[in-house]
């Protein structure tokens, strides 16, 4: 697997480069943005002396490149922060320290990751199931009643804002029918069963939004592979339609689905904020919105980098899966 190792190394190098570029952009945007960071961090009632103190403590007098250098150093080697009274060490990978709470960003994010992870992974599985299933059915049984119903449902799901779907689901299933408890996030490690029931509605809401896209993609991709010559070959050799669709057409059709879904899953880590807010899930998306509002630069940069990391990671995973599914793809 020499080629594979090389491929992996190249991917990692590329990912690091992308992430660094991303952090530069986020840094730059925030410093160009108007407003006095120290004033905001300190609060409106601070005296100019206090603001100056905060300014000093945050190291805002240092040139921009130096601040950024400290930041990068923290990621790879760790760094120290003055807490006013003493020195706090932040070990690598250190994403900095929140301006507002002095909490370390790495810890903050690590605390939120399982929450958003739970949401994204479950929703991901569901949207693939619903989307690919609908797509395959609608390509195979074009014009059937089931196909129309499913297509209509997924389309309706996508075109309805998550607030509406989520609220409807809560009202109907939790309030009127009382089939489900009101959604509430319980960590998996505390109680797996409650974790599952609490996340069921968020999963569905998020998955419905995504699934129509996948249904369409799978459908067109299926129609394409069903028209391919090798499908004709197996038809001419007496295979059943089920074997042709299930074994030969689907395998070719899922490749673009894999690629896109990996990208979506990665992005979802930072952008499931609506679902998180609606269902009261304390995830990364909500953290990001909160930090942007309070100009908590280190947290924003940390979250953006983390999200970026997942997108890049998901992409690399998709590439490998793609290559494993289709041996003609050379990893290069």
């Amino acid at each position: 697997m020499n080629g594979f190792t090389g491929f992996l190394l190249r991917r990692i190098a590329g990912a690091v480069f992308v992430l660094l570029a991303l952090s530069v952009v986020v840094y730059a945007v925030f410093y160009v943005a108007p407003g006095n960071v120290a004033q905001i961090v300190c609060g409106e009632r601070c005296s100019p002396q206090q603001v100056a103190l905060v300014h000093d403590k945050l190291g805002l007098d240092d040139p921009l490149y130096l601040q950024y250098g400290h930041f990068v150093q923290g990621i790879f080697a760790g760094r120290d922060f003055s807490s006013g009274t003493g020195v706090v060490h932040c070990s690598a990978p250190c994403l900095g320290q929140s301006y507002r709470t002095d909490e370390q960003v790495t810890d903050l994010i690590l605390g939120k990751l399982p929450v958003t992870g739970s949401l994204v992974i479950g929703a991901f599985a569901l949207w693939l199931l619903i989307g690919v299933g609908t797509g395959v059915l609608s390509a195979w049984k074009r014009g059937g009643v089931v196909e129309r119903l499913l297509t209509w449902l997924t389309l309706a799901g996508t075109s309805t804002p998550v607030f509406v779907i989520g609220l409807l689901l809560i009202i109907i299933l939790c309030s009127t029918l009382q089939w489900l408890p009101f959604p509430q996030y319980v960590p998996f490690t505390d109680n797996p069963e409650q974790w599952f029931w609490g996340l069921l509605l968020p999963w569905f809401s998020l998955a419905l939004i995504e699934s129509a896209k996948y249904a369409r993609l799978t459908r067109s991709s299926m129609l394409e592979t069903l028209a391919e010559d090798h499908v004709r070959t197996f038809r001419a050799y007496g295979l059943t339609e089920r074997a042709i669709v299930g074994r030969h057409a689907l395998r070719g059709a899922v490749a673009p689905v894999i690629a896109l879904s990996a990208l979506d899953a990665g992005t979802m880590f930072g952008s499931a904020v609506l679902t998180e807010t609606l269902f009261g899930i304390p995830g990364i998306g909500r953290q990001l919105v909160e930090s942007v509002r309070t100009v908590d630069l280190p947290v924003v940069v940390g979250v953006v980098l983390t999200t970026g990391f997942f997108v890049v990671l998901a992409n690399a995973v998709a590439d490998v899966l793609y290559a494993m599914a289709d041996r003609r793809v050379v990893l290069s």
């Binding site: 197996f234 001419a236 050799y237 295979l239 070719g252 003609r328």
Partner: protein
Amino acid sequence: MTPVPAGAPLVEVADLHVSFGDVRAVDGLSFTLEPGAALGVVGESGSGKSASAYALLGLHRGTGARVSGAIRVGGVDVVAASDAELRSLRGGLAAMVFQDPLSSLDPYYTIGDQIAEVYRVHKGGSRRAARARAITVLDRVGIPDAARKSRSRPHEFSGGMRQRALIAMALACEPRLLIADEPTTALDVTVQAQILDLLHDLRRDTGLGLLLVTHDVGVAAESVDEVLVMRAGREVERGPVGSVLASPRESYTKALLSAVPRLSPSPGTEAAGAPPRTPFAPERRSSSNAGRAEDAAEPSTDRATGPAWPAVAEGAEPSPARGAGNCATSHARSAAVPSPRRGSGRGGVGEEPAAGEGLVMEAVGLRKRFGRGRAAFDAVDGVDLHVRRGETLGIVGESGSGKTTLGRMLVGLLEPSAGRVTRTGDVQMVFQDPVSSLNPRRSIGESVADPLRAAGERDDTRIRARVAELLARVGLDPDRYDSYPHEFSGGQRQRVGIARALAAEPKLIVCDEPVSALDVTTQAQVTELLAELQRELGLALVFVAHDLAVVRQVSDRVAVMRQGRIVEEGEVDVVYGEPKDPYTRQLLAAVPSLDPALAAVRRAARREGAEAAVA
């Protein structure tokens, strides 16, 4: 398997109709095929030959095509059979081999698994037994080290190996009928010969009936006992292959046969004593009007065109008759136009150095490397060649020989890794696929005008006038500036491609497989057009092709390429008549002959050669 009454024909087709919407693809076809016999269905594109073959396996079911008539294959009534009966017929009693062996196999599964899957559908049994059967049939079709190769995926096989694998799949369940739809069209000529030999051996050894669908009369001559010529969904002529090819009764068959390019110089031409290519010598053309007059007085030298063409006209190529007419009239209209332009343009013909030494292109030490490091290979590996004014240089080679890469470097579409190309004057290119080399979303006039605009012409009236002139020049209706590519047939699109190449008034046009996507009759028209343009405009042509016969027909000199090198180069008559390089000899020996008796002799010779090579 369904028992077949003894003595009954293997295939019985009576009054078969297949229509797609309003198009009658097959229009009242009847034929029978006895067990173990071989029938060739020959026709041009759109003749309904493939639609007929597909109907034998009921493959039109569920596609929206309407099928009527009686089809019995091995005793199964295909039209009335249930889906399950049909499935057991397909691959069990009758198996099909398709044109493109790469796309006809599933890229995601190993060859062995695919064959095993087909075997288990019909015969059941364990996976292990099915895998063993797969290896047996792969071995039978001559795949070396079949057990190991059965674990490869299609893309790891060469074209010929893939077609062997597909034939192995066909053999897996011991069918009694093999339907081969253009089985060798996507293959190189030497590989084609091997596959045809394999089919021949299989028939001899297993008593397999063969229905061979092909556009290539030579392939049919090599492989079948009886031939059925189809046109517009109907039978034109049917009979023993020898007699149909040697003495066709119908005018269409005659026209079809006369359009097939031959390896040998046309006997008619030689008898008439007309030197085949010399009329295009440079000195004759320097006084262009005189040259044109002579050309007019001396119509096509190589092919019998004139009266035969109207008879050949068919749906796919709507107006060959009108096209030919246009060609003739457009001479008069456009004859005067190119010469003054050429004179006032970039150095007219007369300013060239002495005739004979008038090189329009010279390539020295040309090399093109693709890839890096260990994966690097030289697609073109040290090629020297030159093209003189007004001559045609044929570059012939099999796939992977580097001929296309070479052609692209000559035009300047690819930068050589080493060596240099010297061009005098503009060089243009005509591409293989007239469908994909034109932008479907732009009118053909816009496409033809591209080189004019690129040269700085801004005046729309002048552009339109010039494009109309060019369209007329290549035998198209000059008023079709605003038509889109899909409105044209394949041959017409290739004419558009040629018009586009002419727009820049090149000295040299490099044609990369310009006719390989076209039917033979259309092919003949396009090569005729090229020859005519050459006569009248003094163009030099580089004609890159895999088809040895076509290259012979159009070229003055020929270069034979193999693995990036030119193995032999010289005057066509010399290279084809007395080939010196063993590869050239091998290539020429592999070209199907139109004479079945000669084909049998050649097959025996190939077999001896193969055995000698093994020994």
